[in-house]
């Protein structure tokens, strides 16, 4: 105990305990944000009278009911799921690449997901009718997942040699992948017909404005699968902080952890991109803030990232809806304004020490 005083820093047991307290606080924050987001909107419908009327069996105007149940509620769920997906896949990817700059948006994974989605929109019609029937509205989400998966695998095999990731190679490979994928997407868009162009534009605008229960139903299982894998990765990612070989010597099944991590990132990012377009920087800001607050232990980092990511995206969505009301600012602009400075800050702080 004297040691604790002497070092003047919170002890690691404190960091774990603090992590749990932060989890509780974040859950509370998320709950509040959800309620606020439901009661706020362009239509001016207030949550409480409607809730009161519903509970007491009173009449609720058809209009209010639609606004709450079919517009705000799916949008709230979408923001929560997409925010949690982006933040968790950022944290998992950073653990996998052992680097705080690895973010699906920055290193081309989201671009890969985008290519998948575009391919599904433009070429999906070529699939046999049975398959189309089978996948239904999930087709875009599944294609985006496959695109993200491919991009992650390419990125990992290019930038990691014998278990050590080169930061410079990773960032540059990300640029190359994004450029290549962008070119291919451009080609597909060029080949698209009018109807497809319309759905492409609609998809491209992304944002959370297009949230519907159908969209949500298509993407939710994939996002949830990606997020749910995270707790099983925590111990393995902790071990891999010392490198793959050291993790192996500590009894961690490294190859399996890597495979699951890549799949989890691809699922969460892919489905998030499929329903919301590219929303950047959530995956880098959230884990970074949490590492500052409660340390890099993935056992607390991953669940906290899900909660904070969800709350952050809900908050950003409220800003994007209210700042130029009744119009909407694309949410990607809000997250970029919040996130880009953090990214630059990490880069600057690491300059010189990590050969970036």
């Amino acid at each position: 105990m004297t040691e604790q005083v002497a070092s003047g820093r919170a002890s690691p047991t404190d960091r774990v305990r603090r992590g749990r307290r932060v989890t509780a606080a974040l859950a509370l924050l998320l709950g509040c944000t959800c309620v606020i987001s439901l009661s706020q909107g362009a239509a001016g419908t207030d949550l409480w009278p409607v809730l009161y009327a519903t509970l007491t069996g009173g009449g609720v105007a058809q209009m209010d009911r639609i606004i709450l149940l079919d517009i705000r509620l799916p949008r709230m769920f979408m923001a929560v799921l997409v925010g949690a997906s982006l933040a968790v896949s950022g944290a998992v990817m950073q653990g996998l690449f052992r680097n705080p700059l690895a973010d699906p948006g920055i290193v081309g994974v989201s671009a890969g997901a985008g290519l998948g989605a575009i391919t599904a929109i433009v070429l999906g019609g070529l699939l046999p009718a049975v398959l189309l029937e089978f996948f239904g509205s999930s087709l875009i989400a599944i294609a985006a997942f496959l695109g993200a998966w491919g991009a992650t695998i390419i990125l990992y095999s290019v930038s990691t040699r014998r278990g050590q990731t080169s930061v410079a190679t990773m960032l540059l490979a990300g640029i190359a992948i994004a450029a290549l994928v962008g070119a291919m997407s451009g080609l597909l868009i060029y080949a698209a017909d009018d109807a497809q162009l319309r759905s492409l534009t609609f998809w491209n605008l992304g944002s959370l404005a297009g949230a519907t229960w159908t969209k949500l139903a298509a993407a939710t299982p994939i996002m949830l699968a990606g997020i749910a894998a995270a707790p099983f990765l925590a111990r393995g990612l902790n071990g891999m902080v010392l490198g793959e070989a050291a993790a192996m010597h500590m009894g961690i099944p490294v190859q399996r952890i890597k495979r699951i991590a890549v799949l989890s990132v691809a699922a969460a990012t892919g489905a998030a991109v499929a329903v919301s377009g590219g929303i950047g920087f959530v995956g880098i800001v959230v884990p970074h803030l949490l590492r500052l607050a409660t340390g890099p232990d993935h056992r607390t980092l991953l669940p906290n990232a899900a909660l904070l990511g969800a709350a952050l995206l809900l908050g950003a969505d409220m800003i994007s809806r209210s700042i130029v009301a009744p119009a909407e600012l694309p949410i990607g602009i809000v997250t970029a304004v919040l996130g880009a400075p953090v990214f630059l800050y990490i880069l600057l702080r690491r300059r010189g020490t990590m050969g970036v």
């Binding site: 111990r235 902080v241 340390g295």
Partner: protein, 265 residues
């Protein structure tokens, strides 16, 4: 630990050409040899870190028969170089190893391991803010916490150490070597790549002298660390048991524990 006919090829280069060696529990086996002779590569093969041809047995079982976590429970590995990706504290690093071992239930072990490597009071410091030698001792504490032994165990536990004292001052070299000796006295086996021939002579029960991917000699320190063999292996004239010329100071670790040594031969 038995290794038979280990061959390693990386790319198109043959790095190890058929190494046979054995190490016994309760002994410290030192692997010595010049830079690039394949010591680290041999250690990586013995710990299944790299692909190799040949057989390795640990405690009478082929390495390939172990599941990763069973292996981690009976042997710890300290690599030559390690960097830590995120700002973990010293205690958190040691806990990573501790959690992988059989004594993970005892929460005091990480701090005791740190105290063994003379890092009392460092537990809450950030790993990346430590000096090179302090980092090396932190990693050693992590490995010790993983294969913690306090009394004799039924199946021996093993430590594989690649240059465990390479960045340590002379005082801490003793701290670490004494620690490995205590580990062997409790029935554990230690296999260490060493560069300091004097420390090797003082602590090793068995020495494997390597040269260009082959075993040049194996045996006790007095059998292997001879003027002839060492000059051949290291390609430079070495004289064993000859005092430095008058006026040149020399520091001999053996002076500390002469009584431990067999008569020079």
């Amino acid at each position: 630990m038995q290794a038979h006919d280990i061959r390693v090829t990386i790319g198109r280069r043959d790095i190890l050409h058929g190494i046979c060696m054995q190490a016994r529990a309760g002994e410290l086996t030192a692997i010595v040899g010049p830079n690039g002779s394949g010591k680290s590569t041999l250690l990586k093969a013995l710990t299944a870190e790299i692909d190799f041809v040949g057989q390795v047995e640990l405690n009478g079982r082929a390495l390939t028969d172990y599941r990763p976590w069973d292996l981690a429970a009976c042997r710890g590995v300290l690599q030559q170089s390690l960097n830590v990706a995120f700002p973990f504290t010293v205690r958190e690093i040691v806990q990573l190893g501790h959690g992988a071992g059989l004594s993970a239930a005892d929460p005091d072990i990480p701090d005791r391991a740190l105290s063994l490597v003379d890092l009392d009071g460092f537990a809450n410091r950030f790993y990346h803010e430590l000096s090179g030698g302090e980092q090396q001792r932190t990693q050693l504490a992590r490995v010790l916490a993983q294969v913690w032994i306090e009394a004799r165990t039924d199946t021996p536990r093993w430590l594989f150490l690649d240059e465990p004292v390479s960045s340590l001052d002379i005082g801490h070299q003793y701290v670490v070597m004494d620690l490995t000796r205590r580990f062997t006295q409790n029935g554990g086996g230690v296999i260490a790549v060493m560069h300091d021939l004097n420390l090797t002579a003082m602590y090793a029960d068995h020495v494997v002298l390597m040269e260009a991917g082959e075993v040049l000699a194996a045996g006790t320190a007095s059998e292997t660390l001879t003027t002839d063999l060492l000059s051949r292996a290291y390609g430079c004239p070495v004289s064993v048991n000859t005092p430095a010329p008058a006026g040149v100071p020399f520091v001999l670790p053996q002076a500390r524990a002469r009584s431990n040594l067999a008569p020079a031969g």
